[in-house]
Point group: C2
Chain length 194, copies 2
């Protein structure tokens, strides 16, 4: 093995594409391995040559999404690491974030909706929170502000951000990433004017 990596990758991609296509019209639970194979026009046994389960399939796709988005975010963080978390470049950073998320919307639309797998939003949020945590910890201004437990703060912030993304996806991406970033800033300042 290893020499036939291309072939295997292609087959896996075919399975994944077919699977995603089906997930648009029916929920994960009601999709059978047989149907996936039929859609991908391959033998059912071939599926089991690459995945142990339909759960395994979805898990690998989730993992892949997290890795892809994670490396995007890492890249952003190194580029914006100079700025303070709540400083000048916040809107710019947010826009960049919305931009990289926009790229993965087809998958997110499915995984976050009710055709995906239970608990995805938590796994996604946790992955996001980990990135935000390391970003926050580099901000020397952060520590002084104390008083708020990190886990709750992260859960609050990332959930709120994810909520915005969900609404964005639900509205059919009718706004540009830059508009979303501006919207984000407006909401923050709205909450300030209590």
């Amino acid at each position: 093995m290893g020499i036939y990596a291309d072939k295997n990758r292609k087959t896996k991609q075919l399975i994944q594409r077919s699977f995603m296509q089906m997930l648009e019209s029916k929920p994960f639970e009601s999709i059978t391995v047989g149907e996936i194979a039929k859609t991908a026009q391959m033998n059912r046994g071939t599926f089991y040559l690459h995945y142990t389960d339909k759960f395994d399939l979805l898990e690998q796709m989730e993992q892949q999404l997290f890795e892809d988005l994670g490396s995007h975010i890492d890249e952003l963080q190194s580029r914006y690491s100079v700025m303070h978390t709540f400083g000048e470049g916040q809107e710019e950073l947010a826009a960049a974030l919305f931009r990289s998320i926009q790229f993965h919307v087809p998958a997110l639309k499915i995984f976050l909706g009710d055709h995906g797998r239970a608990g995805f939003h938590i796994r996604f949020r946790d992955a996001l929170a980990e990135k935000v945590r390391s970003h926050l910890e580099k901000d020397e201004n952060f520590h002084a502000k104390g008083k708020v437990p990190m886990d709750y703060l992260l859960s609050f912030i990332t959930s709120a951000f994810l909520g915005l993304i969900e609404q964005w996806v639900r509205n059919g991406l009718e706004k540009t990433p830059e508009e979303m970033a501006a919207l984000y800033m407006n909401i923050i300042s709205f909450i300030q004017k209590r």
Copy 2:
């Protein structure tokens, strides 16, 4: 029918209790009707006398949760309707909210986690958002602040709040509702100090 309502209710409760008990140790997808019946020590056919599906069962339980929590919130809103949304009584209102949620934590713990059904957090958030919307609309201070689309604002706020709840549940309810309310206020003010 109707005369035997008690008997039916009891059987349904037995099914629901058994179901919830199983959901603590295994995910919804892997639970079979046969297992539910076995746990509840009844014939499999009896299950089908009360629910068409295991999906039907979960749906009814979700619905029930929304109704219960919804009426609690309605009650709160009428009690706190005098105050402005972001006014003095906000912390008190938040505490009351956390208190009524605390009551439903056993169910929420399951439904929000990865043993539940996909998309629950969205359905829950939507139900919550509807309550918050009507509350916001009564606040005459709200309209003037404009500039932020209602749907995004609601999604942001309710997701953030739900994120706090999720973290609370995850941490095993180690804080009182009042502490959570204080925490909530602290986070809000933390975000202000940018």
